[in-house]
């Protein structure tokens, strides 16, 4: 009984540890994924900029993330910016040299409301397992304000040390190929 209570307490604190920063910032819902797999990114936006409503969300796709497919969102206009990659990536045998580098959603989200923004992408095996992958997001709001979730922690620091950390996910080793 005691051990169950203890285990429960651990589970709760683990959840809390996850939930704390998750609730505070613009973050990803799934915070780990294996390389060489397709990842569904759900960006959670909890508030506007210092009270101002969010009018635009811009997402920068990092190098090594290809085949990006944003999910259209009712009430929001969606645009993508395509550009060449720094190098060619292999996508199931097909060399890929350019693709979406930026997604822009334009609409309106009040400060007191919450919303999610979704895209799917392939995490190439050029990404190193057991490192963090950061997806910088800029939240542009009314009155010219902007919250830039673009701070990438320096070595030895964590996202908690920053006021506007970029949403990140931990890369896991590729699953065994079938």
């Amino acid at each position: 009984m005691i051990s169950i209570l203890l285990r429960g307490a651990f589970a709760a604190s683990a959840l809390l540890a996850l939930a704390g920063p998750v609730l505070a910032h613009t973050t990803l819902e799934t915070q780990q994924a294996p390389v060489a797999s397709t990842y569904k990114a759900v960006l959670r936006v909890g508030h506007g900029c210092e009270g101002a409503p969010t009018l635009k969300l811009r997402v920068r796709i990092p190098e090594g993330v290809i085949n990006v497919k944003p999910m259209p969102k009712p009430g929001w206009e969606m645009q993508t910016v395509k550009a060449p990659y720094e190098r060619a990536f292999d996508y199931h045998g097909t060399p890929t040299t350019e693709g979406v580098r930026e997604i822009v959603w334009t609409g309106k989200l009040l400060d007191e409301h919450y919303d999610e923004f979704v895209f799917r992408a392939y995490l190439t095996d050029s990404l190193k397992p057991d490192t963090m992958l950061y997806i910088p997001v800029v939240q542009e709001c009314g009155g010219g304000k902007a919250d830039r979730w673009i701070e990438i922690p320096a070595e030895g620091k964590s996202a908690d040390d920053y006021q506007y950390p970029a949403p990140g996910l931990k890369l896991l080793p590729a699953k065994a190929t079938h």
């Binding site: 009984m1 429960g8 704390g20 609730l23 505070a24 800029v138 830039r148 673009i150 006021q163």
Partner: protein, 532 residues
């Protein structure tokens, strides 16, 4: 077992639910008084308005004197934090630092700077600029004051101590004229000094403020003592010989004291050396220059009777000249500091010109003593005609020297220039990462109001043009949380923050947040040393 798991589940939900309202780090939205604002009177409270409810952890205030008031009483109501401010705030700039817990439990710190009256001054300016008319007036008044003190008071001393039994009617009138000129000059100088100190135009000479300001400068006592010395000298021109001698010797001491009281030379360190040196220099000059006019009249009137007077003067003059030369050399050495400054600064150039004239004057004096005075004694001599001419030239040279010396009012000596350069010198720090670097320069690099210039380049020293640059300064060990100021673009690579107030000297943490492009931000950190 099942119940226990369920309990844990509800517990977890409850904790998460409790955190539900905590969606973000708190951020300061605005404050009263506003960050960077100047207010007329010290506020009783400062209101900090955040974007969400906060609870205060620590609030402290560093006042303009550098004193830290810790643990200020703060009450939070919704998003507003009200901080009670100590009642006895001095004028100047104050930093209010806060640490609050935002809803998510993260402590958030920051500072706002506000000034009561005016921002804490960055020390006295060099003060070399000023109204041209005021400067000219100051110079004229200064030269007139010198003439009054040296020719008038010095002349009265000469009359009382060295020429007993000579008729002095005309000489006395001329000397009285110099004394009156000196008193007028001492008075008008005071007003002009005040006008100059306030940076006003001559028109404000009519205002009480100008005279009060003049009195408060170090020139106030100089003017007062000088005027008293001149009045004494004027009284010493008439009456019983004993009375005249007492008056005039006191007047001579007053001349020395008056000039030793203010001016660049007296202000120099070491004071125990410079002030007595100025005193002796002034008394020596008064003895010498004061004698010239009475001598001229005496020799012209009756060369034969003047001979003992000239001899007596000549003996004393030898000592006076030795004394004033020595004192002058000591002062020059202190003021000029390095030989290169003689030609490199205005002060040095005035000194060179003065030295040339003084050497000429000394040559004439030697000629008088060796040749022309004995010639006066020889029967069938030149009737002192040459001696008269020589003394007349000495008078002209003396006036020229005094006119030159009056210029020193406007040329700070190299010693002072060096100190003033030190005071305005900047503090600088180079920050870099492999990708980007920044040079932060604070000028002046001392506590008070300063401006920061930030030059940003890529890691390979190539120019970059970031979108935003924010300068953040903090001194956590002194209870001063981050003071953040956005920089504005200044030139191609430069960024500027003006009106930055750093209330304390010491090591400050400096951070530059650079928004390289929309999605990339770099922070460079380091420390910068601020002089008191």
């Amino acid at each position: 077992m099942k119940r226990a798991i369920l309990l844990m589940f509800w517990l977890t939900l409850a904790i998460l639910g409790g955190m539900g309202h905590a969606l973000a780090h708190a951020a300061l939205v605005e404050s009263h008084p506003a960050d960077g604002a100047s207010v007329e009177e010290a506020p009783a409270t400062v209101r900090l308005h955040f974007n969400e409810p906060v609870s205060p952890l620590v609030v402290s205030l560093t006042d303009a004197r550098g004193q830290v008031h810790r643990g200020l009483h703060a009450t939070a109501r919704n998003e507003v934090l009200e901080v009670a401010i100590p009642g006895d705030l001095p004028r100047g700039s104050h930093v209010l630092s806060y640490r609050v817990a935002s809803g998510d439990g993260h402590p958030v710190g920051g500072s706002i700077v506000f000034s009561v009256g005016a921002a804490t001054g960055s020390g006295p300016a060099a003060g070399l600029e000023g109204n041209e008319a005021v400067r000219r007036g100051l110079w004229l008044a200064r030269v007139a004051l010198y003439l009054g003190l040296f020719a008038g008071a010095g002349g009265a001393f000469f009359q009382a101590w060295l020429t007993p039994g000579l008729k002095a009617g005309r000489t006395r009138r001329v000397l009285t004229g110099f004394v009156v000129l000196g008193i007028l000059a001492a008075t008008i100088s005071l007003g002009l000094q005040g006008v100059d100190a306030l940076g006003e135009t001559p028109a404000s000479l009519g205002t009480v403020a100008a005279w009060a300001a003049g009195w408060r400068t170090s020139f106030g006592p100089t003017s007062a003592i000088g005027a008293v010395a001149l009045v004494l000298a004027g009284m010493g021109l008439r009456g019983q010989m004993g009375w005249r001698r007492v008056c005039t010797i006191t007047a001579m001491a007053g001349v020395g004291l008056s000039l030793a009281w203010s001016g660049h030379a007296s202000a120099a360190a070491p004071q125990w050396l410079t002030r007595p040196a100025v005193f002796l220099h002034a008394v020596g000059v008064a003895y010498w220059v004061g004698a010239l006019i009475p001598l001229l009249f005496a020799i012209r009137q009756a060369p034969a009777q003047a001979l003992p007077v000239v001899r007596r003067f000549s003996t004393g003059a030898l000592m006076a000249v030795a004394m004033l030369t020595l004192a002058g050399l000591v002062l020059a050495a202190i003021q000029v500091e390095a030989p290169a400054n003689l030609t490199g600064t205005d002060y040095g150039r005035v000194l060179i010109a003065k030295t040339i004239l003084v050497v000429t004057l000394l040559g004439l004096a030697a000629l008088n003593r060796m040749r022309l005075t004995p010639a006066l004694a020889s029967p069938g001599g030149t009737d002192g005609r040459w001696l008269v001419r020589s003394v007349a030239v000495e008078i002209v040279l003396s006036v020229a020297i005094l006119a030159l010396v009056g210029l020193w009012r406007f040329t700070p000596p190299p010693r002072a220039l060096a100190a003033s350069a030190e005071a305005t010198a900047s503090a600088s720090v180079h920050l870099h990462s492999p990708r980007i670097m920044a040079q932060v320069t604070l000028s002046p690099g001392r506590a008070g109001v300063t401006r920061a210039r930030i030059v940003i380049a890529s890691g390979r020293a190539e120019p970059t043009s970031p979108k935003e640059v924010i300068l953040v300064l903090a001194r956590p060990e002194a209870g001063i949380e981050a003071i953040a100021r956005p920089a504005r673009r200044d030139g191609r690579q430069g960024w500027l923050v003006e009106g930055l107030v750093l209330p304390q000297a010491g090591a400050w943490q400096v951070r530059v947040d650079i928004l390289v492009d929309d999605f990339e931000k770099s922070s460079l950190e380091g420390s910068i040393s601020i002089r008191p």
